[in-house]
């Protein structure tokens, strides 16, 4: 099946269970509309490979810090259910004991019943109160910890990972998947515990009241158990489909909102609506399926329960009629049976939220099981102090090569030394390996073999904070975070004062436009800087770099949207504020190259030319040709 349908469903349509040999079920989820992506790369899927049992271990590790809270909540619930289930027992006691005693004018047992009932009522209320609070404290902390773990993991994983696992999927891990776990914890888990406890209490009480009636009730749990298992098996598939379906809806939704400008200008509204309707309609169907699955379960379980109630009550009544059983026991049994089977529906609800939480947890576990390919060092070392008057540091690539984990060598083995304080321009066509070189130096990637040294220290031995004091990279995508302009600049150095922030902005020529914003430096940039032009954003990200004041500055196409005065301001700032720093500049504009001490020309992963700009221009190599073309383009 290779037909391409416009706006077709995402790869999320793929069966997420397929990667897991343990499950090995349900290839029938394939064949959803538009499933055609040639498989192979696990990153195309929602569920990243994770060791078996990872979900359970994850849940365990989340709960472990709060085991005391869990224990407290559990004991509160045990007590609370005991208080709740005491009611019918007191009824039986009144009918069988207090009533005869009353007839002998003995009010003692009745007073005991009154006191007992009052105590149970107050206790069950108070315990419920305490339990709700205790459970919320555990649940919400677990959710908070999980959100933070996903967040940290997203940050710890290398750029290589982010290049391949799309942001939409990552965001849906942190939102919808956490949300389904919240439902489980908030509603499902305490429901389940309460149901299980009440079933146990009631069965014990019934057996204690009368072994025959109790035994019969116990027996009824055989078909009920089978029903639950059957429901669970069936709904696993439905739930997985459902979560996959909603994920595609989310992806489409987010993509449209993030690209609203092109959507509107190219009149995509109708086409998008059709595509969205398809995804939404698919979700509607599987959503309906899951509700119907539940309906089926409710009918069957109710039927079993009501048959059991009728049977047990008749048998009990028959025995009372034939004097084999006390009336009070029958009354209590009838009351208990009602309670015993009441929560069976709710058990189904719990199973539902358990299914979706399990599916989500599996996805989250898969994400968390990813080992960052650029790990923090175990025993970080410090960089040697900067030499006075020499703010830059020396960079050495020592026998470095780089290939993606999926194969495909980008940079064959090479050696390169950049003396401290040198400004190096890297030029070459798209795909020549310029950005990879920069990312190795910024330690966005680690080399497949060889080392990248900063003043003789391997980058892999530096803690993040130390590394970023040494090397800072400004990329083409000048992303602004929500918050004020000042806060965005201060990303360069969070402890910077307002004066320092403004100083950096002035040095780069960004002060004027910032001052002209409605609230100056305190203007909120809102949604990814909607109101700030691309050029202005690049200036802001430059101001960040100035503020960070690194020893080595990498500019990866960081001037592409700047106008000429902006570019000059950047060059001026590199000459003054950043004077003496080692700089690696990747730029399409050869104007940037003119300020370089040295030019590297790259082609197909190799450094094919290396020299002073003047010498290269004078020569006959690629750079000379490139430069001529640029000169001509100015004309």
């Amino acid at each position: 099946m290779t037909a391409t349908v416009p706006g077709k469903a995402s790869p999320e349509q793929g069966d997420p269970g397929e990667n897991r040999p343990a499950q090995g079920t349900a290839p029938e989820t394939r064949g959803d509309p538009g499933e055609d992506r040639p498989g192979g790369d696990p990153f195309d899927r929602d569920v990243l490979p994770s060791p078996p049992g990872a979900s359970r271990r994850l849940l365990g590790s989340l709960l472990r810090p709060y085991r005391r809270g869990v224990a407290v909540a559990a004991s509160l619930l045990v007590l609370q259910q005991a208080a709740v289930q005491a009611g019918p027992l007191l009824v039986a006691y009144s009918i069988d004991r207090a009533l005869p005693a009353l007839r002998k004018d003995d009010y003692g047992p009745l007073i005991a019943v009154a006191v007992g009932y009052l105590v149970c009522a107050v206790a069950s209320g108070w315990l419920q109160h305490a339990f709700t609070n205790a459970a919320a404290r555990v649940n919400q902390r677990v959710l908070k910890a999980l959100r933070e773990r996903i967040y940290r993991q997203a940050q710890a994983l290398s750029v290589d990972f982010h290049d391949r696992y799309t942001s939409g999927r990552l965001i849906s891990r942190a939102t919808t998947d956490v949300e389904s776990l919240r439902e489980l914890l908030d509603e499902g888990l305490q429901e389940l515990l309460a149901v299980v406890l009440s079933v146990i209490y009631i069965l014990i009480t019934l057996i204690w009241l009368d072994i025959g009636l109790g035994g019969a009730a116990l027996l009824s749990f055989v078909p009920l158990g089978l029903l639950v298992r059957n429901f669970q098996r069936r709904s696993i598939r439905v739930y997985r489909n459902k979560s996959t379906a909603i994920a595609s809806v989310i992806v489409k939704f987010a993509e449209t909102m993030n690209g609203i400008r092109p959507v509107q200008s190219f009149r995509r509204e109708r086409a998008n609506e059709e595509a969205f309707d398809r995804l939404n309609g698919h979700h509607l169907r599987v959503n309906g399926d899951s509700i119907l699955e539940m309906a089926r379960y409710v009918i069957l379980s109710r039927t079993v329960a009501n048959v059991a109630v009728a049977g047990i009550v008749v048998w009990g009544a028959y025995r009372v009629a034939s004097d084999g059983l006390a009336l009070g026991v029958l009354a209590a049994a009838a009351l208990y049976l009602r309670r015993l089977y009441d929560p069976i529906d709710r058990l189904g609800m719990f199973l539902n939220s358990y299914q979706s939480a399990a599916a989500s947890l599996e996805k989250i576990a898969g994400l968390l099981a990813q080992v960052p390919s650029v790990p923090e060092p175990g025993t970080p070392v410090q960089l040697p102090p900067r030499r006075p008057g020499m703010p830059g540091r020396e960079v050495v690539f020592e026998g470095v090569n780089f290939a993606y984990r999926t194969g495909g060598e980008v940079l064959p083995r090479f050696d390169l030394a950049l003396p401290a304080g040198q400004t190096v321009a890297v030029v070459g066509a798209t795909g020549a390996g310029k950005s990879t070189l920069a990312k190795l130096l910024a330690r966005f990637y680690d080399p497949t073999s060889g080392r990248v040294l900063l003043d003789g220290t391997d980058l892999r031995e530096l803690a993040t904070a130390e590394l970023r004091r040494g090397v800072v990279m400004v990329t083409q995508e000048a992303f602004l975070f929500s918050g004020t302009v000042a806060e965005n600049i201060a990303i360069g150095r969070p402890d910077a004062t307002r004066e320092e922030v403004e100083h950096a902005a002035k040095a780069i020529g960004a002060h004027d436009f910032i001052a002209a914003l409605p609230d100056g430096y305190d203007t909120d940039v809102r949604k990814r800087g909607g109101r700030i032009s691309a050029g202005q954003r690049q200036l802001v990200s430059f101001a960040r770099a100035l503020l960070a004041d690194p020893s080595v500055l990498i500019l990866d196409e960081a001037t592409s949207s700047l106008d000429i005065p902006g570019e000059r301001a950047v060059q001026r700032a590199m000459d003054t504020v950043l004077h003496g720093r080692t700089a690696v500049v990747i730029a399409h504009r050869l104007s940037t190259v003119e300020i370089a001490d040295r030019v590297l020309v790259m082609a197909d992963g190799h450094i094919v030319e290396d020299g002073r700009p003047r010498d290269l221009i004078a020569g006959t190599g690629r750079f000379a040709g490139l430069h001529r073309a640029w000169r001509d383009s100015l004309a």
């Binding site: 391409t4 349908v5 019918p88 009144s94 009918i95 007839r103 209320g125 109160h129 609070n133 919320a136 919400q140 959100r147 933070e148 967040y151 940050q155 982010h162 391949r164 965001i171 942190a174 939102t175 949300e179 809806v249 989310i250 992806v251 939704f253 993509e255 909102m257 609203i260 400008r261 092109p262 509107q264 190219f266 509204e269 609506e273 309906g288 309906a295 109710r302 039927t303 009728a310 008749v314 009544a317 009372v320 009336l327 009354a331 798209t430 795909g431 950005s435 602004l480 436009f513 809102r526 949604k527 109101r531 050029g535 949207s561 000429i564 005065p565 073309a629 001509d632 383009s633 100015l634």
Partner: protein
């Protein structure tokens, strides 16, 4: 899918509403979406009430068994009672199932239709709205909130009714059996209702707070993922994580406050009825002892009371869920109430929303009678081209005292002319380009396309005439082909046809010609051909990630593929390397020769694509002329283009003195000859210009299709 009518939009003119707004009123607003399934929903509720009341019959059967056959030691009577119990039980089970079956698909449908309505609305809301609203907030409205609403319709809504009725019927049964005991049991109902209503208000606030905070947290997460390269580049993981933790800490506190409120109401709901049942038990036992009451009645009485417990207890969490649902409804309508600006502001406004759909389909049909003053009629040959007449623009959310971003822009681009727009960073160039396809609406003044005010054109038609390439090239999760061809008016249908044909090898449809040409103009044919599946390769968020330069070239291809009458390019070559840029410029000149174009330019190489340059400064166009005229006559322009402080580059520019726009055109001719099949550029050029000189955009449109079919 139901679209809420205008009266809904008028109900909430401001967003300053929180506590005083009642949950019921919020939830009532769901009616238009629920209406289509009302029959099923009401039937289901009726079925549920029936089932629930059947449940109340069971204690009565029990009473009959205890007082009748059991008391009389009549074992046959016991069997009869058993049969009755079984019949009632089975019916109850069936009815419960029936209820769920009745609502399953309709309610999923309500959720889906609300989501579709939200999505459709959001797509049509102006860009200024999207600037204001983080997409995380919008997304949580489209997912979590709507799921919550479906849950509300499925459970709390039905069960508030069902349980309310059950409680009422139960009360009647209780009172009929023994009114004194009944009154004792009913005593806690009034205080419970009062307490619940107090709780309702406080919980609604907390719930709204929690939902908003979750939205904020989503936004931060989203930004942290999208901006991960910046965070890593500056090693700011820790401070970002701190910000995240602060938010999640705040959410934790809100959630715990919610839990405390819930715990309080739960405690009361548990205790009060239980105390009442205890009291009834004691009093009832006394009455049985007196002989005033049969044992069976007491059992039935207590059994009924116990059966009523869940309905009473559930009211607490049903109300809590209803509150969350009301909050979710408010959040949903926060977006739905946002007015979609009228499509044709000076025309009749009533029909515009309904017409949107039609416009997209039948955009080629000329639209007569757009009102005499509406500028709908052509203003004649003299006004063909693209004119800005006293255009003032102020962002709607800008402080009233701030100077407008654009303050009286006057500019005339002649038909077939290419105008470069130059200005300092932040001078409003991008804003000006966004006004042409009406992504933003002008505050004052007019933008006139071939004599027609853009405000008088339906958006769909306008946007078909004007193609845009943005500063930030956004690709969608689709194939390269789909991404590029979305620039053509008819892309959808033909595209699908072409894709079907593509299965048997390279298809020859008209769209293929368009696609090839567009890719060639953008110099994207090379790298697209090298992609794993060529033009059928999936790109964008869900697909292969392309470099900035590659994305920019595809965005450019998308802009030129439909051979639009008007082309607006925002710094279209910024991410290209020198070689590619030169090649794209050469090919682009050929396209520009036949269109009226406005190009935002930051550097001389881009400016030289244009016939003339306009300098935007202080919200006005302060100078218009050729590049060289302005270089010499305008100091600001010279600084922008050459960096006046740098003598070297002035020298470089001086070197260009000899070249003029004819020189540039010569350049095109030679390059065009090497790159394109003979003569296409030239023929298209004369064809297009000839037609546009007649002065109507529609002819241009049909001309395009003619070209498309011959190509």
């Amino acid at each position: 899918m139901s679209v809420p009518d205008r009266s809904l939009a008028l109900m909430t003119p401001d967003t300053t509403r929180t506590a005083e707004r009642s949950s019921v009123r919020s939830l009532m607003r769901l009616w238009p979406y629920v209406r289509p399934v009302r029959v099923r929903l009401f039937t289901a509720a009726f079925v549920a009430i029936l089932a629930s009341c059947l449940g109340l019959v069971i204690p009565l059967i029990l009473k009959w068994i205890v007082d009748g056959p059991v008391a009389r030691k009549d074992t046959d009577g016991v069997w009869l009672g058993g049969a009755l119990l079984l019949a009632v039980g089975l019916t109850e089970a069936l009815l419960f199932g029936l209820r769920r079956w009745l609502v399953a698909r309709p309610l999923a449908g309500v959720e889906a239709s609300m989501r579709a309505a939200l999505y459709g609305r959001l797509q049509r809301l102006p860009v200024s709205f999207h600037d204001r609203w983080p997409s995380g907030q919008l997304l949580s409205r489209g997912t979590t909130d709507l799921q919550l609403l479906r849950m509300f319709l499925a459970f709390p809504l039905t069960f508030l009714l069902v349980n309310g009725t059950t409680v009422l019927v139960g009360c009647v049964i209780l009172l009929l059996q023994e009114w004194t005991l009944g009154l004792v049991l009913l005593a806690p109902v009034l205080p419970l209702v009062l307490l619940c209503s107090v709780f309702e208000v406080r919980y609604a606030l907390a719930a709204r707070g929690a939902q908003d905070q979750l939205g904020d947290l989503t936004t931060v997460t989203e930004e942290a993922v999208l901006g991960v390269r910046v965070i890593k580049g500056f090693g700011r993981n820790r401070s970002q994580a701190r910000a995240f933790r602060a938010l999640s800490e705040r959410l934790l506190h809100t959630e715990l406050r919610k839990a405390r409120l819930l715990a309080g109401i739960w405690a009361l709901i548990m205790t009060l009825p239980e105390v009442a049942i205890g009291a009834a038990l004691v009093l009832g036992t006394l009455q049985v002892a007196d002989g005033g009451l049969s044992a069976g009645t007491l059992v039935a009485f207590l059994s009924t009371a116990l059966a009523l417990r869940w309905p009473v207890e559930s009211i607490g969490f049903l109300l809590a869920m209803s509150n969350e649902a009301a909050t979710a409804t408010d959040r949903f309508f926060d977006v739905m109430d946002e007015p979609v600006p009228a499509d044709v502001p000076r025309g009749d406004q009533d029909a515009d929303v309904a017409r949107l759909g039609k416009d997209a389909g039948g955009a080629d049909v000329p639209r007569p009678g757009k009102g005499p003053g509406g500028g709908g009629r052509p203003r004649g040959e003299a006004e063909s081209g693209l004119c800005f007449e006293g255009v003032v623009f102020r962002y709607p959310d800008a402080p009233p005292d701030a100077a407008p971003t654009l303050d009286g822009v006057n500019l005339r681009i002649r038909s077939g002319e290419t105008m470069a727009l130059v200005g300092a960073t932040g001078s409003g160039k991008t804003t000006l380009t966004a006004l042409v396809p009406r992504l933003h609406e002008v505050t004052e003044g007019h933008i006139v396309l071939d004599g027609t005010d853009v405000g008088a054109l339906p958006r769909a038609e306008l946007r078909e005439r004007v193609a845009v390439a943005f500063e930030e090239p956004t690709l969608f999760s689709a194939t390269v082909r789909e991404n590029v061809l979305m620039g053509t008016a008819k892309s959808e249908a033909e595209d699908r046809a072409a894709a079907d044909g593509a299965a048997d090898g390279p298809a020859d449809g008209p769209t293929d010609g368009l696609l090839e040409r567009a890719l060639r103009v953008a110099q994207a044919d090379g790298f697209v051909g090298a992609l794993p599946r060529g033009a059928e390769t999936e790109v964008g968020e869900q697909g292969l990630s392309l470099s900035g330069g590659q994305r920019q070239r595809l965005a450019l291809a998308r802009a030129v593929v439909g051979r639009p009458r008007f082309l607006v390019l925002d710094d279209p070559l910024s991410a290209l390397d020198v070689h590619t840029e030169a090649a794209v410029e050469a090919a682009l000149r050929e396209v520009l020769a036949t269109t009226t174009a406005l190009i935002v330019a930051h550097r001389p190489s881009t400016v030289l694509l244009a016939d003339r340059v306009a300098l935007l400064s202080g919200g006005k166009v302060t100078a218009v002329g050729t590049h060289h005229e302005l270089l010499h006559s305008n100091a600001e322009y010279a600084e922008l283009m050459a960096g006046a402080d740098d003598p070297d580059s002035t020298g470089a520019v001086n070197g260009t003195d000899g070249t003029d726009s004819t020189g540039a055109m010569n350049g095109t001719d030679s390059t065009g000859g090497t790159d394109t099949p003979e003569g296409t550029g030239a023929t298209d050029g004369t064809d297009g210009t000839g037609r546009t000189d007649e002065g109507t955009g529609h002819t241009g449109g049909s001309g395009r299709h003619a070209e498309g079919s011959t190509a």
